[in-house]
Symmetry: C2
Subunit: 167 residues, 2 copies
């Protein structure tokens, strides 16, 4: 609460005028941070016609574009911090993860339909591999305070997309 009062310059009463409870404020803050984050990661994707190149652009956005909200990935942070705590916040993170996975899986499915991606490819599998690698690399890169691990994983994912996903 102290942090929020400092960040917003509002008094406690001013904050509670907008949000019923501290929990409600936390949920709104997560939803806002996630919306901003996913928007930044999906930036310029529509202008990339080929599905595999679109996945590679998504990865490049994740690796190269600084998060619009400070503190790294809101999903990773909330997943860890609400793991055995706030059940409602945990649920929001879970829905964010599923939404993100569906977005990537839909790109893969479109690629299969357009014969850009091998027919045997499982859209959800590709989505899981991309998200897991990027989130783990982000955790490592934040610990090391440099982007090396993210770049290593980007190269690996691009090679995987070229060798196992593209027709």
């Amino acid at each position: 609460m102290q942090d929020i009062m400092q960040a917003t310059g509002l008094q406690k009463g001013g904050i509670y005028r907008h949000f019923g409870t501290k929990e409600e404020l936390a949920h709104e803050a997560f939803d806002y941070a996630w919306r901003e984050t996913i928007q930044a990661r999906l930036k310029n994707l529509d202008s990339v016609p080929n599905s595999v190149d679109r996945l590679k652009q998504f990865i490049a956005n994740f690796v190269e574009v600084r998060s619009p909200v400070p503190g790294g990935c809101p999903l990773l942070n909330t997943a860890v911090e609400a793991d055995d705590g706030n059940a409602v916040l945990r649920k929001r993170a879970l829905l964010a993860l599923r939404g993100w996975r569906n977005t990537l899986a839909a790109i893969v499915q479109k690629g299969i339909d357009r014969h850009e991606i091998a027919k045997a490819t499982q859209p959800e599998t590709v989505a899981t591999i991309v998200i897991a690698s990027l989130e783990g690399a982000l955790m490592m890169s934040r610990l090391e305070r440099n982007g090396d691990h993210l770049l290593t994983v980007q190269k690996h994912l691009n090679a995987y997309l070229e060798s196992s996903v593209r027709v």
Copy 2:
């Protein structure tokens, strides 16, 4: 502090008799949890002669063996929670990450020396890819409360080791 008192059954005075400060206690708790965790992940590795199979056994340990300490991976948890907080705890997590990477990289280097692993392979790259994928999948699996993402990533990593790492 309340949690620790409940978990240990000790009074505050009893805890401070063993640890100078709450910070010192947190550091010792992290070191203990990490030691237990890495031991479980390295279990039975020495009995696997081939280096690539040894990496696969490591991945299987990570995926299949339940963590000996509750709450998931101490490294992931501490990396996220100490990200912009406790600098000393953050440093311990960083050293844990580097030690883990060195352990995996050493297995790869041994494999190169023994001609089990392709000469052009970069040991640190393999280590980063394995750690990033597993940690990210663990975060996802803990959110979903099932092991599906971990199994998906295990399959992906095994395919990568067979196609790009083994000679």
